[in-house]
């Protein structure tokens, strides 16, 4: 996302080249005045509600504090030592990673397939956008309550009813059976958010220069050849971006699990954020919750820092 190290920083307030003997000094001063005033409002909010909690959370993670702010005695690294030994931390982390693996693949692949279809069939563009992107605009509460109440219940839920129309009555506990609960959450997530990736891919497809296709067509390349040798290579960068954005989004899963399964059955779908919530907000151990938050943060940071390295390596290999 932010590998802007190589690029030179913007020229710092260089007055534009004056062709008529240079601008007046007053003009040059205008370029540089009021700088702090422009950035101040943002920086104040930023310092108060991002930097400060980040720092104070680190401090809290070293105490035995509870949610009301009392009982905060310094316990050093005890919270972290406990978290590393806590099987619930590990299982929640594993559920989070597992959900990320299970959801990223279909969310990227289906997003790409939908975009390719919509790009090919430009006749009813509004219909594709409406049906595949509109769910993304619904709040998680709406989506999850819909699937929880009307799609997944056994017997009368739409999932079972549709299976019944083709003569199958497997009586699956979509959200109550440990084997299927996570998959049901993944399916709901794909339905809900694939439209975002679909749009990113669609924008990338529309940016592929038409003359490439025309040239290939003149060379007699068929549709498959054009897809494999022009479209997919041109989408490589977009895919890299979509995968990273998706992994980072999937790691933060909370809403769907909290609303649809509450982390069950038998904590098999509980993600790390829900464990933080349970420890800090229902168990009142906010110091411990902060420590677990920072472990989660380390995971997110690792993913976001490894990504630029990978994409740079790939770019170098491609350049050879």
């Amino acid at each position: 996302m932010t590998s802007t190290t190589a690029a030179a920083p913007a020229p710092v307030a260089k007055p534009a080249q004056g062709t008529t003997g240079g601008p007046a000094r007053g003009v040059r001063r205008k370029w540089t005045e009021h700088g702090l005033v422009f950035v101040a409002p943002f920086l104040v909010v930023y310092a108060l509600f991002l930097i400060w909690p980040l720092v104070s959370g680190l401090g809290m993670s070293l105490t035995s504090e509870n949610i009301t702010g009392s009982g905060g005695e310094s316990v050093g690294l005890d919270n972290y030592a406990e978290a590393v030994r806590d099987p619930d931390v590990w299982s929640s982390l594993w559920n989070t990673v597992w959900f990320t693996v299970l959801s990223t693949v279909p969310l990227v692949v289906v997003g790409l397939v939908l975009a390719l279809l919509a790009h090919q069939l430009r006749v009813v563009q509004w219909l594709w956008r409406l049906s595949w992107f509109a769910p993304f605009l619904l709040p998680s509460g709406v989506v999850c309550l819909l699937f929880l109440n009307m799609i997944f219940p056994s017997g009368f839920g739409l999932a079972d009813q549709l299976l019944a129309t083709v003569g199958l009555t497997p009586e699956i506990g979509w959200l109550t059976d440990e084997r299927y609960a996570m998959l049901s959450i993944v399916a709901t997530t794909v339905w809900w958010t694939v439209g975002f990736n679909f749009l990113l891919y669609l924008a990338a497809l529309q940016a592929v220069p038409a003359h490439l296709y025309e040239a290939a067509e003149l060379d007699g390349a068929g549709a498959w050849k054009r897809l494999l040798h022009i479209t997919l290579p041109m989408l490589r960068r977009t895919t890299g971006l979509v995968v990273v954005l998706q992994v980072l989004a999937s790691l933060k899963i909370f809403d769907q699990v909290y609303i649809m399964t509450g982390g069950g059955p038998d904590e098999s779908t509980r993600p790390i954020l829900q464990y933080v919530y349970q420890q800090g907000f229902t168990g009142y151990r906010i110091g411990y919750a902060s420590a677990v938050s920072y472990i989660f943060f380390a995971l997110i940071l690792t993913v976001s820092l490894v990504q630029p390295l990978l994409s740079r390596r790939r770019a170098e290999e491609a350049a050879k």
């Binding site: 069939l121 992107f133 709040p139 309550l145 009813q161």
Partner: protein, 299 residues
């Protein structure tokens, strides 16, 4: 990837707005018809849950769990809607959501645009350090901060207030990043000329720079509005009083009190889902462009 190029003098009906095809009308080959069938099946799969929600909300309460299923129940009725409407909660949550989302969006766009402009066009001591600090913040997911942020809100007395929901969602470093990228690409001549004409810094910003950046500001605004409207975790943590809840949080909080009145649950979901879908219907192209723009800004 379309069929052979047949240059038409008139743009094909329906494909008018895609300027990339250069007025070519693809032929309906068997292959493309097959693709159309696949696309329509996928569309049906995506629309089915939404259609089911609407259908259920129009059934009498006794018919919602009938098997084998029917789309209409024994009759079509708006009972569920009037019941949900009478309870009044939904209206309160809608207003809360609207107020919080609009305020957050305005504050985010104004503060991020000013900051981005300050970082690209002005100079002051410590600028690069501060800019670096803001860029580093892109790496911090707000979800990591819930525990310390909540305690801070307790100390500031902002739990169960609008500001408690709004303020943590305002300073979005990624939006500053997007706007910095944009401002870097704006030539300086216009501003320079205005300075020479004696305009002040503020006037140049509000009357020249802001109008120039309308598309990118719209993209940031749309993105912010959608994510604020749909945000669940933070409003859920910081509001305990039903009167102050946003729509997604309110719905989830009363879910258990509905029991098995599925028609009413679905009616409230339809009402809750409609505002953004209506917005989408009107601003489809801006929203699509905005999402693509902000999503692809990382490249």
């Amino acid at each position: 990837m379309s069929g052979s190029a047949t240059v038409t003098t008139r743009p094909a009906p329906g494909s008018g707005r895609s300027a990339d095809a250069g007025g070519r009308r693809p032929r309906w080959t068997p292959g493309r018809i097959a693709l159309l069938v696949v696309a329509l099946l996928l569309t049906a799969a995506w629309l089915l849950p939404l259609a089911w929600a609407v259908a259920t909300s129009l059934k009498p309460e006794g018919d919602t769990t009938r098997t084998p299923f029917s789309w209409t129940g024994s009759r079509v009725t708006f009972d569920a809607y009037s019941k949900v409407w009478e309870s009044g909660d939904l209206m309160v949550w809608l207003m809360n959501s609207a107020y919080i989302s609009v305020t957050t969006t305005v504050l985010t766009v104004v503060t991020c645009a000013m900051a981005a402009y300050g970082f690209t066009r002005t100079d002051f001591r410590g600028k690069r350090l501060l800019h670096g600090l803001v860029l580093a913040g892109i790496m911090v997911p707000p979800q990591v901060l819930i525990a310390p942020l909540f305690r801070e809100m307790v100390q500031l007395g902002l739990v169960d207030t609008y500001w408690g929901v709004i303020l943590p969602q305002v300073a979005v470093p990624a939006m500053v990043f997007i706007l910095v990228k944009f401002f870097e690409g704006v030539p300086r001549e216009l501003e320079e000329a205005a300075f020479v004409d004696g305009a002040g810094r503020w006037r140049v910003f509000w009357t020249i720079v802001i109008p120039l950046s309308r598309p990118v500001l719209a993209a940031v605004a749309i993105f912010t509005f959608i994510s604020t409207w749909n945000n669940f975790l933070w409003p859920f943590l910081v509001t305990t009083d039903p009167g102050g809840m946003t729509l997604p949080v309110g719905l989830v909080s009363v879910q258990s009190t509905f029991g098995v009145r599925y028609a009413q649950i679905m009616a409230s979901l339809v009402i809750a889902g409609l505002p953004l879908l209506i917005v989408f219907a009107f601003f489809q192209r801006q929203i699509v462009r905005g999402i693509a723009h902000t999503g692809l800004a990382g490249q």
